[in-house]
Symmetry: C2
Subunit: 519 residues, 2 copies
């Protein structure tokens, strides 16, 4: 059933560079070569000329068909479960999310206002110079490379948010599958390819490359036909792609979402009011998905008084009894264990772990406790350990709490638990965190990333390479578009979005006023 | 009257690194040192904490005051004329444009909808999981460095579009003045500083550095407190800043507008209908401002038939009689002369120049004529020569014309002259140019960049380092902002833009619908 081959512009193409398998060894997969990259990008560039002119309705129908095909691929969840060890129920939820994302972008494209149309009509009588007619809208950037993530084999992978938003914008996509789930990737890729065929689109609109090699990733990012990159994964890999793209003769944007420690601040009033409930919620958020989300809280920060110590003891008890769980890959599990040993070995840090995993390669929930001054001296305590752990920082004073906040790296999220009085008193803390994170949460937990227009899943470096962008929510489409102004264009040459009579019925800024009216 | 010193957070600070003068030697200017960079950025970072929370009205009033001060600086035009050799009338127009830009951003900030507010209200009953309340808006990035351009000493310099849009977004600005007009820069800087004082803003919101040194520019771009860069100038300098920013531990966006050759395509029907008028308009556009705009047309492309040859002969006659003019600096004039010699020396290129400038350092209007196949063989013909020249490309066939279009580098603008029949017939040409340029012009000329919401002054590399951005028009503000989502925030902690009752009366996307309503 699986070809194990690279899928380029609708064809399963033979390889010459060896092969690899992943967990479960569902099949062998052929390593993509530089030639495959060339072929995929050449096909994408040709497809772009047609795809960018496809009417919005046809583009939306394509996305809807991908969603339906993803839902209709029978073995998808079973195969993903074998490859990732993620529970079937979780994967079913992720499949629903993946389809919903595709349909959300379909609806966005159908509605059409995302192109940010702006029209300044001619003022032939203006002095000293007449004003020409100028109209501006977003157009797609060109072929996009998407690097699938290991931790969301559906929602942030082959047909995930990056692919959905790039296709929605009008960009062909070349996916470099994550080598931890190549069979899942092939199934999802075939769902996309089948949708392209039924939609009558050029097959170069989508290709899938399978590879375990850094050189292949670099060749893809440096291909002259490529115009942007979407990536979810580690800081090291994301930064390497960013550097490769910046060093190109023509630099291109890289949207790398590289995770973060998602600090949770717990203020004294909240501790007094509902310390036990916070300890419960925190344990759940830290261990959710065996700590393999971008948004699990890796730092928990409070003011060291007796009640906070109680909360920490409750959290210790909950973490001690939290069950170990299977991680995505043996490499991720080893990296987690190494991180746990590194953190535990820092002077001034105490460790609590749940029951030993024995010889099983499981992620063991781990809690570390230390003091603010230890973190302030040792920046490495604030670096991400991907897995079910959090470091509790007990600060001795409000001043120290703020200094801890001020020295944080860029984050996807930052969370504050506080009563109204706490929050009023610690306005400065909120102000500091606003410069550190893409999403601020009050009295909640950072796991659970809503897919909606208001979501910001991004943040200052090193959370991402581009804090101006989001990889979740409707605004993700803007990563793959650029504005073009059309000056003095006759009506028939304009895209429908810019014509006088507004046939698409979209919101437009006409002579400075937002309106759906045409004329 | 002039201090000749670096102006840091409201103070004229002594230097220790020597000094320089510019044309006219209005005064000596002290070279900024790395210490000045540190002081300016530390002050900017401190000012940012206050400035980003300043109400929109106060920020708008600050911009309005800068505009008034720029208009009220008596010697500004006289000094700029001495330093740049630009005619006083042109400089007066540029001053008006500078003040208008500042007021445009003041109006944008006052109106307020630019923050792209999005609100998804809580759905506590949603299954399987309730939806939290999430609200998102743009917030300022942080301290911005602006590198003034030589060719617009007011509108793209100290108080120009980059500074205006960064201040409008809520970012403090550190300007590195162009060393060709340091006195003009000091006068404009003092207009900004006085406005900051009257507005009661922290003085670190603006600083001016004077320098002739590349190391100083690099130190500024690599300063850890800096969050973005605006630049207008040469490809070499812009790319160097881009590379320095990409190599930082924390990479930051660089918006470098590096010019282009702005190709003008003249189709057969238009040649037949109004060849003489096109030759007139083209000569004016090529020689406007002694060819020192980013948008002067450096390439003129047509289909080689008898009527096009007539047009070229008319253009030759007009260029031959166009007067030489003083250029901005001796270095720019020497670079132009070198470019003219380089182009004229290419085999298959013929040269026509207007009357010799003699020993005067003047820019001599120059016309080059060659064939499509010569350009296709020699990419250097399509590279920018900054000055009053254009290269006419005679193509032998429609296919060759399209191949010339397809191999163009990224451009700020691309222009087509054509009758309705021409344009219908050459839809493919327009489609190709859409991938090459930020602004497409039909039956006009690229010089004259309207300042309005629909303007796109940017384009694919090497026209700029970021085709998603514009340096002219209201959208320029978006370069200096990033989104933040606020989840579960109580009303009093939200910015007014995100509160239920919409006290600012701005457009917001509430539960997916654009509205000015609150509740």
């Amino acid at each position: 059933m699986l070809t194990g081959k690279n899928l380029i512009a609708g064809e399963a193409v033979d390889g010459t560079d060896g092969s690899f398998t992943a967990a479960g060894a569902v099949a062998r997969f052929e390593e993509a070569s530089a030639l495959h990259v060339d072929d995929a990008l050449d096909a994408a560039a040709r497809a772009f000329d047609a795809y960018r002119h496809v009417p919005a309705e046809a583009r939306a129908a394509f996305l809807d068909r991908i969603a339906a095909n993803i839902e209709g691929t029978d073995d998808l969840i079973a195969v993903a479960h074998i490859e990732t060890a993620l529970p079937a129920q979780r994967l079913a939820g992720e499949r629903t999310r993946t389809a919903s994302q595709l349909r959300m972008f379909a609806a966005l494209v159908r509605e059409g206002s995302w192109v940010d149309a702006r029209i300044d009509r001619a003022l032939p009588q203006r002095t000293p110079l007449p004003r020409p007619d100028i109209r501006r809208m977003l157009v797609p950037l060109g072929p996009v490379a998407v690097f699938g993530a290991s931790n969301f084999p559906l929602a942030f992978s082959v047909a995930g948010g990056d692919t959905a938003s790039a296709l929605a914008a009008g960009c062909p996509v070349v996916v470099k599958a994550h080598p931890a789930h190549p069979a899942t990737s092939e199934l999802a890729a075939r769902a996309v390819m089948a949708a392209a065929d039924v939609s009558g689109l050029p097959r170069g609109v989508f290709s899938l490359l399978q590879s375990t090699r850094n050189e292949l990733a670099r060749a893809l990012v440096q291909h002259p036909q490529l115009k942007a990159v979407g990536f979810t994964g580690s800081l090291r890999a994301g930064r390497a792609l960013f550097d490769a793209a910046a060093a190109r003769p023509e630099p291109i944007p890289v949207y790398a979402e590289m995770g973060s420690v998602n600090p949770v601040f717990i203020l004294p009033g909240a501790v007094a009011e509902r310390g036990a409930a916070i300890a419960d919620g925190l344990k759940d958020s830290v261990t959710l998905g065996v700590g393999q989300f971008c948004t699990n809280p890796g730092l928990t920060i409070g003011l060291g008084e007796a009640r906070f110590d109680d909360l920490v003891r409750q959290l210790e008890a909950r973490m001690r009894s939290a069950p170990p769980g299977p991680m995505l890959t043996p490499a991720i599990c080893r990296a987690y264990d190494a991180g746990v040993i590194r953190l535990g070995g820092i002077e001034g840090v105490t460790t609590t772990r749940s029951s030993d995993a024995g010889d099983e390669p499981l992620g063991v929930p781990s809690l570390f406790v230390t003091r603010g001054e230890v973190l302030l001296r040792n920046h490495a305590i604030g670096e991400e350990v991907f897995g079910p752990s959090t470091v509790v920082i007990r600060c001795d004073s409000r001043d120290e709490l703020y200094r801890v906040a001020a020295q944080l790296d860029g984050q996807l999220t930052a969370t504050i638990h506080g009563t109204p009085a706490d929050l009023e008193e610690h306005a400065l803390l909120i102000s500091i965190l606003e410069t550190k994170a893409g999403r601020l949460i009050v009295n909640g937990f950072p796991t659970g990333v809503e897919v909606s227009p208001s979501m910001q899943h991004g943040g200052p470096y090193p959370a991402t390479t581009d804090s101006r962008s989001t990889s979740v929510g409707t605004a993700a489409i803007n990563r793959f578009a650029r504005p073009v102004a059309y000056q003095g264009f006759p009506q028939p040459l304009l895209a429908p979005e810019l014509r006088d009579d507004n046939p698409r019925g979209i919101w437009r800024l006409v002579d400075g006023e937002l309106t759906k009216d045409g004329w």
